[in-house]
Symmetry: C3
Subunit: 309 residues, 3 copies
Amino acid sequence: MQWVRKHLLGLEELSAEEINFILDRADSFKEICTRPNKKVPALSGRTIINMFFENSTRTNLSFQLAARRLSADVLLFSKAGTSVAKGETMIDTAQNIEAMGVDVMVLRHGASGAPWKLARCVSCAVVNAGDGQHEHPTQALLDLYTIREVCGGIAGLTVGIVGDIAHSRVARSNIWGLTKLGARVMLIGPTTLIPRDIERMGVSGVEVCHDMDRAVRECRVLNMLRIQFERQGERPFPSIREYIQMFGLTRERLAKGREDLVVMHPGPVNRGVEISPEVADGPQSVILRQVANGLAVRMAVLQLVAGVE
Amino acid sequence: MQWVRKHLLGLEELSAEEINFILDRADSFKEICTRPNKKVPALSGRTIINMFFENSTRTNLSFQLAARRLSADVLLFSKAGTSVAKGETMIDTAQNIEAMGVDVMVLRHGASGAPWKLARCVSCAVVNAGDGQHEHPTQALLDLYTIREVCGGIAGLTVGIVGDIAHSRVARSNIWGLTKLGARVMLIGPTTLIPRDIERMGVSGVEVCHDMDRAVRECRVLNMLRIQFERQGERPFPSIREYIQMFGLTRERLAKGREDLVVMHPGPVNRGVEISPEVADGPQSVILRQVANGLAVRMAVLQLVAGVE
Amino acid sequence: MQWVRKHLLGLEELSAEEINFILDRADSFKEICTRPNKKVPALSGRTIINMFFENSTRTNLSFQLAARRLSADVLLFSKAGTSVAKGETMIDTAQNIEAMGVDVMVLRHGASGAPWKLARCVSCAVVNAGDGQHEHPTQALLDLYTIREVCGGIAGLTVGIVGDIAHSRVARSNIWGLTKLGARVMLIGPTTLIPRDIERMGVSGVEVCHDMDRAVRECRVLNMLRIQFERQGERPFPSIREYIQMFGLTRERLAKGREDLVVMHPGPVNRGVEISPEVADGPQSVILRQVANGLAVRMAVLQLVAGVE
């Protein structure tokens, strides 16, 4: 296969072959990330800009570091204190930045679909670093990479995603990626947090489950989503205490599950809410490995969209 | 000619020969900016700091990128959350930063004259990236560069500057640069936004015009200034609607002008106010080319003041 | 001697030999800092992150520049607008950042002891860039370096530290460093700003003095601490005017002191409070030299903890 896409916008539009191509490419960067000198000249003289219209620590740092390790120059743009405050639109800002000679724009934006809109208006490459409640493709790619690495493959596995599926771009991108690669996806959470028509959305291999105890017995992997308190104006569940009791991944609950159950979390973790501290730091958790793999995956993505071999 | 100035503070103090010297130097960087690998080792091991005491997106990014393309190390300093908040003066801050071994300071400041004050207190080079309502020399240089590139020269052209001339550092630097290079400058706007004594300020070749329709017929280039709503506490014109009707550059008005009229704007654009969207994005607009040329011009300026050949 | 420490946390735990080892190493970097091209490849391909949970201008810039001059990649993290706001703990943040493959974390934190806590939780090197009112080892090291450079040695000197000793991490680190290297330390200030048990804290060679006029006569070096108005909720002295009169270093007071008295200040200076402007800028002041030496000292520290020879 040859990589022909200009952008990386979402996993919905990628084929299984393309997803595997990225994961394979990430393998070679993973090896580089273990050396003392982690820098390669791949994107020397190229310019990558992180355009973050939403706050972020780790995704922003991860993309920065991935770009630097490829020897690209990195510019940072975030919303606060810029001409966006002066009323300039995202597209105007982006076209101006592009005119300076930028090769790749990494966009995080609160509006679903923003990266597609951007990609239509600029001629450089666009990478989606999270758009609204829609997609977060590099997060899902690093999740897939980690599952493949830990479990030896993805096809045939049962992977559970637990929490606020309805509002989660991480869940959405994972559902696309996992099903394309042949996993069975179990969505676990209260009915209020799972989109009603998910099983009818045309993706085969997805089922809904409201019983967390069954999930820990049946799943090979559990991806614990973060409860986003900042978004819970409407309070879709009665209380945190009740949520923890029903869906929290505690040591007790984990002990009743498969012995080889792998625990994932996209971070930042609410310790003691969706996951207890002992589980987050325990032997079945691969949370920090996900972060490490994010570097390799993002290096692969940036190199591919930059079109430099 | 040989470049002898240590700083780039304003166009008022530059000779026509010096301005042309910078524009010629920018030519060679423009070529570099079209390559896939846009990096040259000119300022390798040198340190440039952007000291921005006013918010800015594009000027800050443009200087950052220009410095990186010259292989300099770039430090960023902005006012928010620094010891300026602890009451330290700009000069104290600058002298401390200089002591760390900085080669060039790029200063944006809300007070007119700040870069001159800074240049007297430090021994490194100072570049003015906009001071109050006074000068914005690199913006004017990139405007001149773009006019020269598009029109084949500057002497003898009629160049209109439209809008709030009285409070615009872009206008002021353009007036100096254009007249020095032999252009005729037409200042267009309501009487409240044009300094009363402009025609008496000793610069020959400047005239005032309150008739935008005449301006589009006579000018070869129109530089549309941004209406700075954030500064309009006093409201120098009755209403936005009336301003647009009298001075806005709409498609209809443009159609009555010279066929080869070139439309410029220093950005960020208020679409639908000083300029309509179709004109900003239309074939006569060179707005994005100005941005691209800004890189080449700033690379030339940084290299010249850094004194490295 | 060979450097074996993984972290640089505080001067209390360093031996005189280790302190001298750092100062000697800084000597070679000082020479590099005087060249036009100040960059060396020592930490090429290594990654250093500045984690600043408190605002800072100069320390942050100084560490950034030191890291860049060693050719490391530098990431910046500060508290505002990050997932710390989402409730994530410092340790969670740090472990995630570490998983990306960071070699050195430079931590500034408002809580005394934070760097030790961090060092226990990550496997990369930690450098303390100031923790609460506890230690600021690189500031003390650059002070020691400057004293050694200016006075030709440290043992046997009388060095005064003037001001709010009780709340100053700079004072604390200086006391450890100076006494270990054989200086006599005089702590000068109002009783409310000097810890009561300082002379009993087991450090020999420390005495308290409330008479500034005696201090200028006896001390070879005076390190004037900044009055931290932002911390003075409780107002430990009656008025600024009275403080200046009793402890301010004015030209008149300085004239009564030793002719070879060296004046230091960790910055930022409150001109006209703890030190008058003529003294801060006068011939006996080495304030800007301290800043310059800070680069060399921090390059030495970063290279040592990074473990790359």
